[in-house]
């Protein structure tokens, strides 16, 4: 009886079995990579804003404190976005005719809010409170990255649960003295530049973190990692 299939199908059959396994593995790897990619998470993506606001200029060069604009961060869950009046406190006096600032003046003139594009947003099923973090020694730049260097604003973290858990499983990695919370250029202690707290110079973040954890009465890990802490 003549063969139904060409002899090459022997090879094809073996390769396709092996290939299927490799393919599934590669597919898994691809999905994993995509899920962590900035295309998916919007991490490091500069979002197009109505006005190209530069944190580097305002925070880095001029030294304006975070709280000047993000006013409710110490008291509320939401850090706050400034109303146009805040911008006009300076820009009614300086750069008054700059074309780049026309949308700001228009907003002030017409009493229409500027439509800022949200850079850091958590989904609705997550309860996040800024005030507790800021009042317990987590700096702005710990989560929001080197804002003082950002010419245009981008998200510094993935905002995945794993990203939050990295700190919530070991807060000592990110605690800083309360006086340094709003320091946009704070660097964690190392042997080159120690950080002083209560008269002691610390050269290791973990040591400083442990001290601060007990000083600031950070909740035990069981509470920090409990589901209902963030999913209320």
């Amino acid at each position: 009886m003549a063969q139904l299939f060409h002899r090459s199908t022997n090879l094809i059959a073996r390769f396709s079995i092996f290939g299927a396994v490799v393919f599934i593995g590669l597919l898994g790897y691809a999905l994993y990579t995509i899920a962590l990619s900035s295309w998916y998470t919007r991490q490091n993506y500069v979002e197009e804003q109505p006005v190209p606001f530069s944190h580097r200029h305002h925070v880095g060069e001029l030294g304006i404190d975070c709280r000047y604009c993000h006013t409710s961060v110490e008291k509320s869950s939401f850090a706050g976005l400034p109303p146009t009046q805040t911008c006009m406190t300076c820009h009614s006096q300086i750069w008054t005719n700059a074309s780049m600032l026309e949308p700001v003046r228009a907003s002030y003139r017409d009493d229409q809010s500027l439509a800022w594009v949200r850079v850091n947003a958590l989904p609705d099923f997550v309860y996040f409170d800024h005030s507790i973090h800021v009042n317990k020694g987590i700096g702005c730049t710990s989560c929001h990255g080197p804002v003082g260097d950002m010419a245009l604003t981008y998200r510094a973290g993935t905002l995945y649960m794993s990203w939050c858990l990295e700190c919530h499983r070991q807060p000592e990695k990110n605690l800083r003295p309360k006086s340094e919370v709003f320091n946009a250029f704070y660097q964690q202690p190392n042997s080159a530049h120690p950080v002083e707290f209560e008269g002691v110079a610390y050269t290791s973040q973990l040591e400083l973190g442990k001290k601060l954890s007990s000083e600031y009465k950070i909740q035990p890990l069981q509470t920090l990692q409990s589901c209902s802490t963030c999913h209320r």
Binding site: M1, L4, F5, T9, N10, A13, G28, Y32, A35, L36, T158, Y160, M161, S162, W163, L165
Partner: protein, 461 residues
């Protein structure tokens, strides 16, 4: 083995497992002709369309579930598990007979499994597919079903490995995979037979691809036997473990009527009971319609009826022990649970259960009843119903009447509950009809091994 002559002179000879007069080629001719030359008959089309219509109903219900959610079912507090779980356990239970016939009876060298194992294993695979729909559909967000799998995720969370619902995921998916593999491996030589006998090129190519290059060489047969034994060895513990894990869905809870150590063996016995009932429900019309009484003989039906009776008695023991321990335990809540089952709002279901699962199947003790295909068919349907009622009584009655009286409540199934159930029956019958039309419903290879027993020509092997 002695020559045929001395065997014939013994007064009592067991009925043959294959009608005398068959040869190797007549067996192959008969079974492959159903697939290759019989064509699509009006009878088949009629049955298939009914199953397909119910499948379309399932399609509709699933769409509605995705859009509106599980509220379209009757589940509320306190009975938050209704038909979905009842049907899940019912379908999984049915599947167990196929694996028992395929795997355990292979390891026990029971020759009577040969003509029924193919469609019994097909029944298992389709039943597990129907069963698997329910855990997915009963989720609030079925599209997040993959959360049940342990994969590296951006939440750094594993599934709750302490939950029997997660164990179910592993048990059922293992069961499905092993059953499918076992069924497929057994089918390879039969696919080759169909490939060689098919006349149209397309049919040849399809069966040819499915037969994976089978040549019938000694090496292939040797590997086939080894693979069958290995898979049988893998599948055998699954028969016991899968339904045990399913029973853990209930036993892990503290609800009276659920928290019982008898559940694992009682569920496994019940699974085999309902499975054999379904095998009979399928075998009786199939052998009649396709004229296969010479291959699926009266002796097969007799044996299966007896297995059904035996497992039915184990299940009856389970019921008796439940009642006994409820009253003997002195535990007020267990006592109340049992009294509620017998005399509460669902008493009709409980007594129907006793009638259908314990009382009526006792008729099988009578040879006249189990040799009459009509009565056996009816009893098998009654047992199928009874096993469904058992799961209903276990799930719904215990949930409706647990600890605090203020928590008690009634469950009333909605039309969508029934529609989902009927829909899965449609899925099962659609798949089964397709199986009957396109696949050899009896294992050609295995039945040929029985031919020498009845052959006149004094074959030796």
């Amino acid at each position: 083995m002695e020559s045929e002559g001395s065997q014939k002179s013994i007064a009592v000879k067991p009925e043959p497992l294959i009608s005398p007069g068959h040869t190797f080629s007549s067996v192959t001719d008969k079974i492959s002709a159903i697939v290759l030359s019989r064509g699509t008959t009006p009878g088949w089309v009629f049955g298939f369309l009914i199953g397909f219509a119910l499948l379309m109903l399932l399609n509709m219900v699933v769409g509605l579930l995705m859009i509106k959610g599980v509220g379209i079912w009757g589940i509320r507090i306190p009975v938050a598990w209704g038909f979905a779980i009842v049907n899940f356990v019912w379908w999984i239970g049915i599947g167990h007979a196929g694996t028992l016939i395929s795997a355990i009876l292979l390891l026990l060298h029971q020759k009577w499994r040969t003509s029924i194992n193919r469609f019994a294993e097909a029944m298992t695979i389709f039943a597990v597919m129907c069963a698997g729909m329910f855990p997915l559909l009963h989720m609030g967000r079925p599209w997040m079903f993959y959360y049940l799998m342990p994969y590296p995720n951006p939440m750094w969370l594993w599934p709750q490995f302490r939950s029997p619902l997660v164990w179910d995921v592993f048990a059922v998916s293992t069961y499905f995979t092993v059953s499918l593999l076992f069924w497929f491996v057994g089918l390879i030589p039969d696919f080759a037979t169909l490939r060689d006998r098919a006349t149209s090129k397309a049919t040849k190519i399809i069966y040819g691809m499915l037969s994976m290059g089978w040549r019938g060489s000694a090496v292939h047969w040797s590997r086939y036997e080894t693979a069958s034994l290995l898979l049988a060895g893998l599948a055998t513990p699954l028969v016991v473990s899968v339904h045990t894990v399913v029973s853990f869905d209930f036993t892990i809870a503290i609800v009276p009527g659920w928290h019982s150590t008898i559940f694992p063996p009682y569920f496994v016995a019940g699974a085999i009971y309902s499975g054999f009932a379904m095998v009979l429900t399928l075998a009786i019309p199939v052998r009649k319609y396709y004229q296969l009484e010479d291959l699926i003989t009266d002796r097969h039906m007799d044996i299966m009826a007896k297995v059904m009776l035996a497992t039915g008695l184990i299940v009856a023991y389970g019921y008796a022990m439940e009642a006994f321990t409820a009253f003997y335990s002195g535990n007020r809540l267990e006592h109340d649970m049992m009294v509620n089952r017998m005399f509460g709002p669902y008493a009709a279901a409980y007594w129907a259960l006793i009638a259908t699962n314990i009382a009526i199947p006792q008729l099988i003790w009578f040879k006249k009843v189990r040799r009459n295909m009509v009565s056996l068919f009816i009893i098998s349907l009654v047992v199928n119903l009874g096993m469904w009622l058992e799961r209903f009584v276990i799930v719904v009655v215990s949930l409706s009447h647990d600890f605090i009286p203020s928590s008690w409540g009634i469950y009333a199934p909605t039309r969508w509950d029934w529609a989902t159930y009927l829909g899965t029956i449609g899925l099962f019958f659609t798949l089964f009809y397709l199986f009957l039309r396109f696949l050899p419903m009896i294992s050609i290879v295995e039945v040929r091994s029985l031919v020498h027993e009845t052959s006149e020509e004094g074959h030796h092997h």
